[in-house]
Amino acid sequence: MTPLELERIDGVPVAHVSEDVDAANAVTAERQLADGLGPDASSLVVDLSDTRYLDSAGIDMLLRLSDRLADRRAKLILVIPDSSQLKRLVSIVGLDKAIAIHPTLAQALRRAAAPPGAAEAVGDTPTPGRPTTPGRGAPLHSTE
């Protein structure tokens, strides 16, 4: 599988990561993801729905990526489904306290469309053309 697939949904750059992220590919993945932001976008959604393993090298990478995006006034938003094993991992290491994580892509996109600081209100403005996804009341872990 191609490790990284980039697309834009309603103008928001979305990167689908389908491979494990570890010490073998973290540096390359970080560069590809950072490039995926493009010149104008204010957020990057990294979809980890099909990612099976993400080890400490992958977690370091996401933290660095988040910092890099912040330097460009953009935010990093992760998609990790509730059923994913990664869900437990990110809470063990506290990644969910540093980066916004949503269980579905639709929720992540709504978060991306929301104005800065409006994290709690995103559920009220469904993205046009995208189905509203149940579970919008899921807690948002954002440090903003």
Binding site: T2, D55, S56, A57, Q85, V93
Partner: protein
């Protein structure tokens, strides 16, 4: 042989009249000349020595001053001086004569003997002939299987009329040379092709617990019908293993060079993480765009050992043969694509098939099953029977047993490549020594995942133990950073419900230097029942345990 210092007028009484008089003494000497040219001892010389000696014998037999051989370079349409007597400058200066032009060019183009009685009144391309003062010439074509491959010519410094006997004798010498040139070309091509084949096939097959690989490549027995069949095995960083088998149309150096291009392209695309159908689609476009006139058939197969599943794409190639754990054999032919390099825009489809423990798979080229005068179905039938019998044997590798059951004739009429993959049960104890490089992590997680599944681990337990082992391995790898031959060892044991995984290296846990080292340890301690780190000279052992409950 000494070179003649200057043209010396050839004054032989027998030639004075310009006609050969067939008195018996001449006939006698002709016979001995004939023998000198057909002498079998010439066959044991190198081509260079043989041509040189042959030309010297012709010079003496036909009583001429010069003798030369030019060979045709078909790609450029020119004749190149290859050997000469009395005309050594021709070779030294690398004389080239365009086909159909000049004396030698006409002999080659018209494929018949040509006589020039007086050089002053003839078109000659090669200036050396005039400079040397040659007056009369006779040239004959050198043929291999009705194809002109060169020209042999003789010349005299005094005017001479060559007769039928001269032509016959020179043609005999040319035929003798043709044979030697052709043999030398064949063995040269074969040698080059065999070296290319050897360099292009993997030196060793990967060692992965629970999998057995075996491969064979056998070149065709004689001539240049060698080259173009190949196989490859690549451990992908995602834990899957890719297998390739293929056959480039044609044989010889050109086929082997196309095979090298294909092998390199596939390895590059694999490194970028493309899946099998994409690999073949991209390869096809590449070959078509490069204008390669030679197509190739191939089969690419990726095995996920943990998922016990394979994904295959065939491009005009014979279908892989699967022997299932119960001994049933079947050809995997769910999807067929065209050979690669033939038509642009072809969309290749992959198919998946289960590959549970106890399965055996065989990839092969047509030389293994095709027999003259036999239908391909008979070939498949024999292969099926042979593979089923081979699956029950234990005396050598699976590929070898299949090969020996099918092939008894030597020399082989065609190249044969075959590659087998067997999935065997993992033991309760598992030990792996891996190179201290990050690209082994995917394979480690895959093998460990398979072992944990067999031990009855649930999805969550599988994740916890595998990720933790991967963390410990990452630390061992980072410690060895820079050391080229460094390795680390992973030992897995199972006692009832409890699994223990120990990762050992020869360095220290890098908690202090690496924040990640600390985070890794935190992850492991959160996911497992116990984690101990023994850092002692000369190395570090991280021992992890977890009780499996099937969650």
């Amino acid at each position: 042989m000494t070179q003649r210092a200057a043209p010396e007028p050839y004054a032989d009484e027998q030639r004075a009249g310009g006609q050969s008089t067939l008195v018996s003494s001449v006939s006698q000497s002709r016979r001995s000349h004939l023998l000198s040219i057909t002498d079998s001892a010439l066959g044991y010389m190198s081509l260079e020595d043989m041509l040189s000696e042959l030309l010297e014998r012709i010079r003496s037999a036909l009583e001429v001053d010069t003798a030369a051989v030019l060979l045709l370079d078909e790609d450029r349409g020119v004749l190149l001086a290859r050997a000469a007597r009395g005309l050594e400058e021709e070779v030294r200066q690398g004389v080239q004569v365009p086909l159909a032009r000049g004396f030698a060019g006409r002999v080659a183009a018209e494929a018949r003997p040509i006589v020039i009685e007086d050089l002053d009144h003839a078109e000659v391309v090669n200036p050396i002939l005039r400079q040397k003062g040659i007056r009369s010439m006779l040239g004959v074509p050198i043929h291999v299987e009705r194809r002109v491959i060169g020209v042999m010519h003789i010349g005299t410094f005094v005017p001479r009329s060559f007769d039928e006997d001269d032509v016959t004798l020179l043609q005999l010498a040319a035929d003798r040379a043709a044979h030697a040139i052709d043999n030398a070309r064949i063995s040269e091509q074969r040698a080059v092709t065999e070296i290319m084949q050897r360099t292009l096939l993997p030196d060793a097959l990967p060692e992965i617990p629970g999998l057995r690989f075996s491969a064979k490549y056998l070149p065709a027995g004689s001539g240049i019908k060698v080259g173009g069949d190949w196989y490859d095995v690549v451990q992908l960083t995602n834990g899957r293993v890719a297998f390739v088998i293929g056959d480039v149309v044609g044989r010889g150096v050109l086929a082997a060079s196309v095979m090298a291009e294909i092998r390199t392209a596939l390895r590059a695309y694999m490194a970028l993480g493309h899946e099998p159908a994409q690999l073949v689609t991209m390869l096809n476009e590449l070959l078509v765009s490069m204008g390669r006139s030679r197509g190739a058939t191939l089969c690419i197969l990726e095995l996920d050992p943990e998922a016990e599943e394979l994904e295959a794409v065939t491009a005009g190639h014979l279908p892989p043969l699967l022997v299932e754990p119960d001994g049933e054999a079947l050809l995997l032919e769910q999807a067929h694509g065209l050979p690669v390099g033939v038509r642009t825009g072809h969309d290749y489809q992959a198919f998946r098939h289960p590959f549970p423990t106890g399965s055996r798979l065989l990839l092969y080229t047509d030389g293994l099953i095709e027999r003259r005068g036999e239908s391909i179905d008979d070939g498949f039938q024999r292969l099926t029977v042979a593979a089923q019998a081979a699956a029950r044997g234990t005396d050598s590798s699976f590929a070898d047993r299949v090969y020996r059951a099918l092939i008894d004739e030597t020399p082989l009429p065609d190249d044969i490549a075959l590659l087998s993959i067997e999935s065997v049960a993992l033991e309760d104890q598992l030990e792996m020594t891996l190179a201290a490089r990050p690209n082994v992590l995917g394979g480690l997680r895959n093998t460990l995942g398979r072992w944990l599944r067999a031990a009855g681990a649930g999805e969550s337990e599988l994740f916890d133990v595998t990720l933790s082992a991967s963390e410990a391995a990452t630390n061992a790898i980072e410690h060895a950073y820079g050391a080229r031959e460094a390795t680390f060892t992973v030992r897995c044991e199972r006692h009832g419900q409890d699994v223990t995984v120990a990762v050992s290296d020869d360095g220290r846990w890098r908690t202090a230097r690496h924040q990640r080292g600390g985070r890794g340890l935190h992850i492991m301690r959160s996911l497992l029942d116990s984690v101990t780190v023994e850092s002692d000279r000369p190395g570090t052992v991280v021992t992890m345990t977890k009780r499996l409950t099937g969650q």
